[in-house]
């Protein structure tokens, strides 16, 4: 078995007195599509941020692409971040810049010094940016201001920006939480396609069980900063996921709270469970 792409061992993260992560272990193999599932505040985002070296663990170690993040010097850390693409719930594009300028900023890790404006990037990178835009289906929006695009389109621009990094890993932090169902579907399908075509490893956080079952190979459930579930999605259904959550839930009230958080289509679930 080859070395894992991501290896998190015994990571605990404290912000002041709040514990965001508690002794988290996670190994992700090359090409896996892992979904981090949990309520808001369960530690999904914090864990993802550790994988890109944006947070440093209070205890434990994070290895990404075979490198121990804690041991990296700033320049080496930036180089590593260059190989890890990240997309966000709020897209995080610069609204006043054109779409293509936003995509090009994904190449910054490979460039020396700051860039400002299209002219400051070499032609080869501009061509690459346009190719990525074509791939996410937004070539016709190349020179529009990013803030004039719809949410779904902006997220696809953000994906193109991540592709501009030529990443080995794609981290996605609630990539569809701000999108309507149709755009969500489009974005999640795009992420899966890219993962399959480019052999990318994907770690994606979601808070909806159905989406996780539909799009993930494997689900890692987080609750209060601890991993409470780690299983492949094969043959898994919604009720089973909820049941595993239920076992670790301290009280019925808490379970109900989780149901409300996670169970967006409770009625639909019952029907489906009845059929299985």
């Amino acid at each position: 078995m080859t070395a894992p792409v991501v290896s998190v061992s015994g990571v605990t993260k404290e912000f002041g007195t709040t514990r965001a992560l508690h002794e988290v272990d996670l190994r992700v193999e090359q090409g896996e599509v892992v979904v981090l599932l949990g309520r808001s505040g369960s530690g999904k985002s914090t864990l993802l941020r550790h994988l890109d070296g944006l947070e440093r663990p209070s205890a434990g170690a994070v290895e990404v692409l075979g490198e121990d993040l804690a041991a990296l010097r700033p320049a080496a850390l930036r180089a590593l971040r260059g190989r890890v693409g990240m997309i966000f719930q709020r897209f995080e594009l610069v609204g006043s810049l054109t779409v293509v300028e936003n995509v090009l900023t994904g190449a910054l890790a490979r460039l020396r010094g700051p860039r400002l404006g299209l002219w400051s990037y070499p032609r080869s990178l501009k061509l690459a940016a346009l190719t990525h835009l074509e791939r996410v289906g937004l070539l016709d929006k190349t020179y529009q201001r990013a803030d004039q695009l719809s949410g779904g389109e902006q997220q696809r621009v953000a994906i193109a920006r991540a592709l501009m990094q030529d990443p080995r890993i794609l981290l996605a932090d609630e990539p569809v939480a701000s999108l309507d169902p149709e755009s969500s579907d489009q974005v999640m399908r795009l992420i899966r396609e890219i993962a399959a075509d480019d052999g990318l490893t994907v770690v994606c956080s979601l808070h909806q069980v159905d989406l996780a079952l539909d799009w993930g190979d494997r689900i890692v459930g987080l609750r209060r900063g601890a991993v409470v579930l780690d299983t492949t999605t094969d043959g898994l259904n919604r009720a089973q996921v909820m049941e595993i959550y239920g076992r670790v839930a301290a009280s019925t009230a808490e379970l109900m709270a989780i149901e409300t958080e996670l169970g967006d289509v409770v009625a639909g679930t019952t029907v489906r469970d009845g059929q299985t």
């Binding site: 944006l54 990240m86 609204g95 900023t105 020179y143």
Partner: protein
């Protein structure tokens, strides 16, 4: 208990203001004498006239060139200062302190003092002292507003670039700079307006242009006053015109509506019928694959952006030419000594008592003028408030009065400068009080109008008269903000009284003028500036305390 002390402090300050007026020998008969003298001057002077068109064009060009270049220098220096001052971009905490300190110090030193101090390093008549004076003094405001804008941006894109492996510099230029650019341009244009107004005073420190021409004309007593007033009118018109230009640019280029209430902005708003600025959708759909998409289409927005950039470059190059910048006029061996001469602060041949006495006069001018403004503002401002004025017509008349008071300070100031040079502190008080009504009256009117209407309605329902309603419901609720706004006026008055003192040779300005023109006396300038800064900080501290007490 705190409230009692607060009331006490307010009464003490009011009493000090009234006392100041009496110490400064301020009485209505004095004002009347001044007005009579001014009237006499008006009868003796030549008719109001303008310089010949060629000279006038040269003077306008020189003034604009100096102000544009000075503001540009300040803006360029402010970028790194803002970068280290803003909490989300600074590389280290201690650099933030340094950055903010640079802002406070540069703002504290009046540009007139800088211009006087730099005049040694440059040949007489060079425009460089003026450019440098504006350039350094403006860093204070510009870098502060730049840094505030940086701190207000959406942090997400910056984080996204960090996550993608960007360096700090790349984060700044790719994620921060594009977000703050509109606000930065607006700040620079705003400062340009302020600097243009200030350039009249810089002329008194020998910086060439309209201000200097005005000073020369006024020096020719009494005949030259006609020419002086002509130039003052040109300065006034120039300020209004450029304020309209800058408001229009901000509106069209940046989608920022004309705000503020100076005359120029008002005209822009009236002319555009108060429609909010709209942005047209930009970009287009290039057809035919990736290669074809490399060519950026010539959309309206691209053409517009490029034209604005081009126009900005032309303005800067033209300013360089108009301001007649000549670095051979720099006496380089004086540069370092000039800078060094400001440290350490000292008292020279004076005693601390002399300086404190002078500072007291300046503070008295500031407080006296503030009290006069306060009395007038309460009357004018109340009648300009919708919920106090008996009808719309009265409100309209008093609002117009306030606009006039605010819109013409340049010209008014110029006329009073004549009196100041001849008549001392009283004229300074009148000049400040006049401008103060424009500022404070507006703030009073706005704060009254912002009060929730409930209590007034209740009293009306109970059958109270308009006067009873004002005294029982409006006034008590308006007082806290009135106190805060009055102290803000005292704050700006102290700075303004310092500069007026430089022109009129009174108070702390008298010592500043003397000390800044001689290299060996520059240590005194530092002492005096520190004294003014401490005084202003003390007033700001009292204001902050009273805001807490009366909240």
């Amino acid at each position: 208990m705190g409230r009692l002390a607060g009331h006490g402090a307010v009464l003490v300050m009011l009493a000090f203001g009234v006392y100041s007026l009496t110490t400064l020998d301020f009485s209505w008969s004095d004002v009347a004498t001044s007005v009579r003298q001014a009237a006499k001057v008006f009868t003796l002077m030549d008719p109001v006239s303008l310089p010949p068109p060629g000279d006038l064009a040269y003077l306008i060009g020189l003034t604009l060139g100096i102000v544009v270049l000075g503001t540009l220098v300040a803006a360029l220096i402010s970028i790194p200062v803002a970068y280290v001052s803003a909490e989300n971009t600074t590389p280290a905490g201690w650099l933030r302190v340094v950055g903010r300190a640079i802002g406070v110090v540069t703002r504290a030193v009046p540009d007139v003092v800088l211009a006087l101090a730099f005049s040694l390093t440059f040949a007489l008549g060079s425009s460089l002292p003026g450019i440098l004076a504006i350039g350094i003094h403006s860093i204070g405001m510009i870098s502060k507003l730049f840094a505030d804008a940086v701190e207000q941006i959406d942090r997400g894109p910056q984080l996204a670039l960090r996550a993608a492996g960007g360096s700090r510099a790349q984060e700044f230029w790719s994620a921060v700079f594009p977000q703050v650019l509109p606000s930065w341009i607006a700040t620079v244009l705003h400062r340009f307006d302020i600097n243009l107004r200030g350039s009249a005073i810089l002329g008194y420190a020998g910086v060439g242009g309209l201000g200097y021409a005005m000073k020369v004309a006024f020096a020719d007593f009494p005949q030259g006053y006609g020419r002086g007033l002509g130039i003052a009118a040109v300065i006034f018109v120039l300020c209004v015109v450029l304020e309209i230009v800058s408001s229009t640019i901000r509106r069209n280029l940046l989608g920022i509506d004309a705000v503020g209430n100076s005359l120029g902005r008002r005209i822009v708003r009236t002319a555009t019928g108060n429609r909010p600025a709209r942005r047209r959708p930009s970009g287009g759909a290039p057809a035919g694959g990736v290669e074809a998409a490399l060519r950026r289409p010539w959309t309206r927005s691209r053409v517009r952006d490029l034209s604005w950039t081009g126009a900005a470059v032309v303005v800067v190059v033209a300013s360089y030419w108009l301001a007649d910048v000549d670095f051979s006029q720099v006496t380089w061996q004086y540069v370092l000594p000039t800078v060094q001469s400001f440290w350490p602060p000292n008292l020279g041949s004076h005693t601390l008592g002399d300086f404190l006495q002078a500072l007291l006069v300046t503070v008295e001018v500031a407080f006296g003028a503030a009290v006069l403004s306060l009395v007038l503002s309460v009357v004018v401002g109340s009648l300009a408030a919708r919920n106090v004025a008996p009808n719309g017509a009265v409100r309209g008349v008093f609002r117009t009065i306030l606009v006039i008071f605010r819109g013409v300070p340049e010209l008014v100031l110029a006329i009073f400068l004549i009196m100041i040079t001849g008549l001392g502190d009283q004229a300074g008080v009148v000049a400040l009080a006049f401008g103060g009504v424009g500022l404070l009256g507006k703030l009073v009117a706005d704060s009254f109008e912002e009060l929730p209407p409930g209590p007034e309605r209740a009293l009306t329902a109970a059958g109270a008269t308009r006067g009873q309603r004002f005294l029982a419901a409006t006034w008590p609720r308006g007082v806290p903000s009135l106190i805060g706004n009055s102290l803000y006026l005292v704050d700006t008055n102290i700075r303004a009284a310092t500069v007026l003192g430089i022109v009129g040779g009174s108070g702390i300005g008298f010592y500043l003028t003397n000390a800044s023109t001689v290299l060996t006396l520059h240590g005194q300038v530092t002492t005096l500036v520190i004294m003014v800064v401490l005084t202003v900080l003390a007033v700001e501290g009292i204001a902050a305390w009273l805001r807490r007490v009366f909240r």
